[in-house]
């Protein structure tokens, strides 16, 4: 296979010195592509000095380009764009991958524009064609179609959805080089992060169990039993857009096309009818249970188990049964 560019560069994401797991997923995918085309796997990361960059080597990066500076301890798109641009200019990768997190989706377009290359958003699949070019597969039209996209310019850049690919296996025996990168001149401060108002406590996309509530829940206080069930199962509470729009629960709980996409081991939908916009966010869950009093609710079409019953009866009963099972 023909080599396009000089390497595969993963653009890492970190927050306060902790690496985002999407980075490990990208390194896993990069290693898979590398086995086919023979290009080396690189990783560019910018963050505070204490960032555990050797982790990136353990996860398969052959070379890590490290910009150590506390200025990267805030979400500053302009600064990070400058750093990545410099690494790309110096190394000439054929492929550049970044996580399609909120920050990744804010930085990658700036970087693509700065490099004058194309960018494919939110990929769920990456392959190489017979000429070694990257085939980027992404959903579009509100998740109804999958488009296969190729990029004429280099680097071929894509953002990749979190939780789409498995993490690269960790191996402390791996050897790699860490190259310190001198930072570009301090940016003319066009933008500054004044303060962090709130840090997200738990990301619903990381939950292994989600108990989600929809229109079947009539009042905010009734969410108590949904929370109780979620807690019993060690999971988090999710919600359909309907009850978020009604103000019953915060937006950070919303699952769906315009909320979070989730892939827990277990998803229990309580009183959710299953609008396409909701299904788009949870249909890849491991095991889907649906509790809904309407037998024609579309949620039953994608459920592994359906219980056609009023959630006000079914949820407390399920809680009782789980407690009984736990006590045994």
């Amino acid at each position: 296979m023909q080599k396009v560019g000089k390497g595969i560069l993963v653009l890492a994401e970190q927050k306060h010195g902790k690496l985002h797991k999407v980075t490990y997923e990208l390194l896993g995918k990069a290693a898979e592509l590398s086995r086919k085309c023979g290009l080396p796997v690189w990783c560019a990361v910018a963050g505070p000095e204490e960032l555990p960059v050797e982790e990136l080597v353990f996860r398969g990066a052959q070379t890590v380009f490290f910009g150590a500076d506390k200025r990267f301890d805030t979400p500053d798109e302009l600064l990070l764009t400058r750093f990545f641009k410099q690494v790309v200019r110096d190394t000439e990768p054929g492929i550049c991958l970044m996580g399609a997190t909120s920050f990744g989706r804010s930085v990658a377009p700036r970087l693509a524009a700065a490099l004058g290359t194309g960018l494919t958003a939110d990929c769920t699949g990456l392959e190489l064609d017979e000429d070694g070019r990257l085939v980027q597969i992404r959903p579009a039209f509100s998740e109804n179609i999958l488009a296969h996209i190729k990029t004429d310019t280099l680097p071929q850049m894509a953002t990749v959805r979190y939780k789409e690919f498995p993490e690269a296996a960790r191996d402390e025996g791996r050897k790699g080089e860490v190259v310190r990168v001198e930072l570009p001149d301090p940016a003319d401060r066009l933008a500054e992060v004044v303060s962090e108002l709130k840090s997200q406590e738990a990301d619903i996309s990381d939950a292994e169990v989600i108990v989600a509530a929809g229109r079947g829940v009539k009042e905010a206080k009734d969410l108590g039993m949904i929370r109780e069930l979620a807690e019993l199962l060690g999971g988090q509470v999710g919600a359909s857009r309907a009850i978020v729009d009604d103000g019953l629960i915060g937006r950070e709980c919303q699952v769906g096309y315009s909320g979070s996409r989730v892939k827990p081991k277990l998803y229990i939908a309580c009183g959710i009818s299953g609008a396409p916009q909701h299904l788009a966010g949870m249909r890849e869950s491991g095991y889907i249970a649906a509790i809904n009093s309407d037998p024609s609710a579309p949620i039953f079409n994608i459920a592994d188990i359906g219980i056609c019953e009023d959630l006000y009866r079914a949820v407390p009963e399920l809680i009782r049964k789980i407690r009984a099972a736990k006590d045994k």
Partner: protein, 266 residues
């Protein structure tokens, strides 16, 4: 203060038909509307005008001639002015070409302080044009903006839901923000404003009006580095799980409990 709002006319997604066998998308029966996220962008601009008392809001849309209808709706919803960026040469543009064309149009339209975009469009789904445009125009930007905290003389403070947190950011003018649906509830146009918008003049500019800022090799299909090679309409995902009727709900809950046990969740 001059505010530019980016608007796209999109098909009504509820009406678009997807043929899973043939792998085609049929928008012919779908009506066209203003991208829902862009209405939040427009509402943000109009509220800033109300707050500061002296802003001018111009809606800018790139698209076919009929996108003028989307711009009319923006005028009905409070835009002072509208600019249609339209040319057959622009057809097939990806986000890079679109951003370069919009950057040229925004520059050509005169001085501006703030560009506001919606988070993404419902048909393209990329959310890339805002930040790409910011880079091409050399502007700072904030994404996922859920509130405009204050508007000062030479900067504005916004709340950005990004990086797994919520951040207060200060951007120097000129700047670009892309807003989420949380930022506001777009107002509906009144009957009178709708009637007035019908008569409003929609300015239009094509490639020839932008040659000062735009090269022919950077627009349209040939100016687009990303190319769609194939479209797949994946089958609707279904699972054939058993649905327990109301009178068997107890059995259903037991089966669910067993499934939870098998997954070692408890």
């Amino acid at each position: 203060m001059n505010i530019v709002v980016l608007v796209k006319q999109v098909p009504d997604m509820e009406q678009v038909k997807f043929n899973r066998e043939k792998g085609t998308v049929d928008r012919s029966s779908a009506g066209a509307e203003v991208n829902p996220f862009d209405l939040n962008a427009l509402e943000t601009a109009v509220s800033i005008r109300e707050l500061t008392g002296n802003a001018h809001v111009c809606a800018v849309s790139m698209g076919p001639p009929q996108a003028a209808n989307a711009l009319r709706e923006c005028i009905a919803r409070g835009a002072d002015d509208a600019l249609l960026v339209s040319d057959a040469k622009f057809g097939g543009s990806d986000t890079r070409a679109t951003s370069l064309i919009l950057a040229a149009a925004v520059r050509a339209a005169g001085p501006f302080d703030l560009v506001i975009a919606g988070e993404k469009t419902v048909d393209g789904d990329t959310g890339q044009v805002g930040p790409e445009l910011a880079e091409y125009l050399g502007l700072p930007h904030a994404g996922y903006v859920s509130a405009v905290q204050s508007v000062g003389e030479d900067s504005l403070d916004v709340v950005s839901d990004i990086w797994e947190g919520t951040f207060l950011k200060r951007l120097k003018f000129p700047a670009l923000i892309s807003v989420t649906k949380d930022i506001n509830q777009p107002r509906l146009p009144s009957f009178r404003s709708k009637m007035a918008a019908r008569k409003a003049e929609i300015r239009s500019v094509g490639f020839d009006g932008l040659t000062e800022y735009l090269k022919p090799e950077n627009v349209g299909f040939k100016g687009s580095p990303t190319k769609v090679k194939k479209i797949e309409v994946p089958p609707a995902l279904t699972r054939d799980g058993h649905v327990y009727r109301e009178d068997e709900a107890g059995d259903g809950l037991d089966a669910l409990l067993a499934a939870i046990g098998e997954r070692r969740i408890l």
